[in-house]
Amino acid sequence: MSTTIIFPAQPEQILKGLSKLWTSLGEEEKQQGKPTVLRACAMTLIVATDEADAGFAASQTISELMHEHPARGIVLAVSKEAENDLQARVLAQCWKPFGKAQQICCEQIEITAKPGSWQNAAPTLAGLTAADLPVIFWCRHHGALKKDAIETDKAGLDAIAKLATKLIIDTSGMETAEGMDLLTKWQSEGKLVADLEWTRLTPWREPIAHIFDNPARENTIKAFHTLEIEHIEEKPPMQALYLAGWLSAPYKAKVQFRRAAGFGRGIQRVSFRSDAEAIEFERTSAECVTLWSTNGRERKYSFGEASVTALMTEELAVAGFDQAFTGALERARELAA
């Protein structure tokens, strides 16, 4: 269910559109004589996309995210095709949990901006955030994230960033130094930041950390002095730098990167050595990571390329300061330098 185009995209007009939308959903309830719709909202999620991101189905992704993180979703899309400088429409994303009679509905606002109007979007967004709830800004406007972005794009990004409690980007397609600089800058401004390239590492990091949970193990992490990471790409990708940063941060182990063939993209193998033991995690198929250890252990873990929805689902669940990420980022910068 959605409304017609709202222009000019003023917050009052858009909020009126939302109000009408809920009234019409209420009418539906009245006809059925029982509650059929439940409204849910735990945050405002702003997703900004640019023309290079045209293939990305933002609305669809938001509707999938709603199942675990109900939010007022705002898609801010830059498009040359936009009829007006800034125009909006509102819609409801509804789903019916399995076996339940009631639909759960979240509000969504789609704002389309002409390329030159991106920097004017922030005042509209400021009037649209849900009261008293966190504002998460997921920036997929790659042009604005670049170091050499045009001034108006930079200004637009800064203005929206100011509204946000947490900023999420994906540095997988960026120059590593560029991504790290941006994240560090936002951190220094007191923002919570996240990088989906770091989120992709959880299936690697968790089993690695588990190895050192056993208090009876003879070789603690301190004993591992050499770390080797193999990756598909020519240069170490951001995720390899993060993993190296995270693993070597506590004891500053010696780190080596190496290019290797394998599955998908990114990290293929992680090995760390002490004088007495070697441990390897290797992507042995597209869906599996295998742990080998010189003390005879072998174990398989499920591993799939996480969808962007899965990555965002994990990231939206992290509400506070991410100490592990901050430490890894800091050390990754040292390693990259």
């Binding site: 199942h67 949990p97 959880t202 193990r217 992490i221 174990r299």
Partner: protein, 517 residues
Amino acid sequence: MSVLVQPLTEPNPLQDSLRFARRVPPCAIVIFGASGDLSKRKLLPSLYRLFYERRISQNFAVIGSSRTPMSDEQFRERMKESVSKFLEDAPFDEDIWKSFAQCLFYVAGDLSEEDSYERLRTKLDAVEKSHQTAGNVLFYLSTQPSYYAEAIKKLGAHQLQKGNGWRRVIIEKPFGHDLESARLLNEEIHQVLDENDVYRIDHYLGKETVQNILAFRFGNGIFEPLWNRRYVDNVQITAAESIGVEGRGGYYQEAGALRDMIQNHLSQVMATVAMEPPTIFDAANVRDERAKLLRAVRVVKPDDVSKYAVAGQYGPANVGGQNLLGFRQEPSVTSDAQTDTYAAVTFFIDNWRWADVPFYIRTGKRMPKRVTDIAIQFNAPPLGLFSQETKGGLREARPNLLVLRIQPEEGISLRFLSKSPGSGMRVRPVSMDFNYGSSFGERTPTAYETLLVDAMAGDATLYTRQDMVDASWQIVQPILDVWGNSKFDFPNYAAGTWGPKASDEMLARQGHVWRVP
């Protein structure tokens, strides 16, 4: 909710509590009764799921034990069948199963035979080396209750209750069949184990929504001030099942609803709803408060049992075009069975907070629907400004009702009066709903997953302690005694209804009515 009680010796610098599952130390789990229903339907699927989600240590092993002769490989095959069949809301992955299966072992043996324990010791020593389980062992008694005491005695006789690491024992319900047998069992257990190593499981306490009661009460500042006799008129706890005894007629005929549900699950739920806030959120403090509450429950005098407790048994009926059997017509049930398939009790808690507030608890089989909830009925406003608009009985006179829904639609709702649109001051009750599923769409762990992880981590918050079990038997024992010596005119409610008329009358005497969940 979960608290790490025993910190590992050295903190692991790679841990990331924001994203990783809670740390669980290495251990071996020994399941006695491994070929039984509980193992197949709940325990192994829960352990596989925990393994799949990387929520248990890499250094872990399961040793199944039962009388059936089987090799490790045969046990793995059988468990594979069960896990793939009974896994709830989760995928079965062949590769992960292979890794999991390497952690499964089997020891055939009779719990009464000494040799079985020696074979178990040999196996435990082997997995301690091969799987680096650090000597930690969690024994799970999933056997018939009559074996509990003997199994624990023999664990002690073979020195299996101590070793290089910790040793803990999980005991399934029922914990005794009356106060005396529960006390005797406790005595026998304590000859071998410290109370701290005994984990009496009550899977109700592991349910997410029961744990949420504590979060709701003690994580918010606005409800506790109202949570007392000044504002609460009565509390109703309902655990209704639409099914009958489903082939368990023989067992159920001996147990009955009061023993099967109220003595354990529902009295613990009542304690969770009514307990005082703990000063620290840890196992000892939370359990102290639950036990204190149960000790404050007034023990009904034998002469008053008929006033404060009602037994019921369902008779045959046609529901939705289907002919349903009465309890006495169920297989393995005698035709003159005096079993309560329905029980309702009025409890009073004699403490400063709850004096004179009735807590009504009811549970039954073959009721109109499956529902478990807790309803806190608040007092009416002091002045009935809109009373002419709220005619029609007690419910409207006391508009504010807070319902904590445990299952199936987990959530919380608050009913209050609101003005109807239009001229004039017409009011009507409306409901404000929090739906657990809509706010947290992720899969919630099953009660057994939660409780197994807690036991491995040494967190007994959600397990019942000896004094809690003792107190909960004390409050139902006089009712059991009187009912045991009574001859009821059963059946007294038809399948598909909300129980016997006497139950409604019990509430009417206090000026209350059962709500319809």
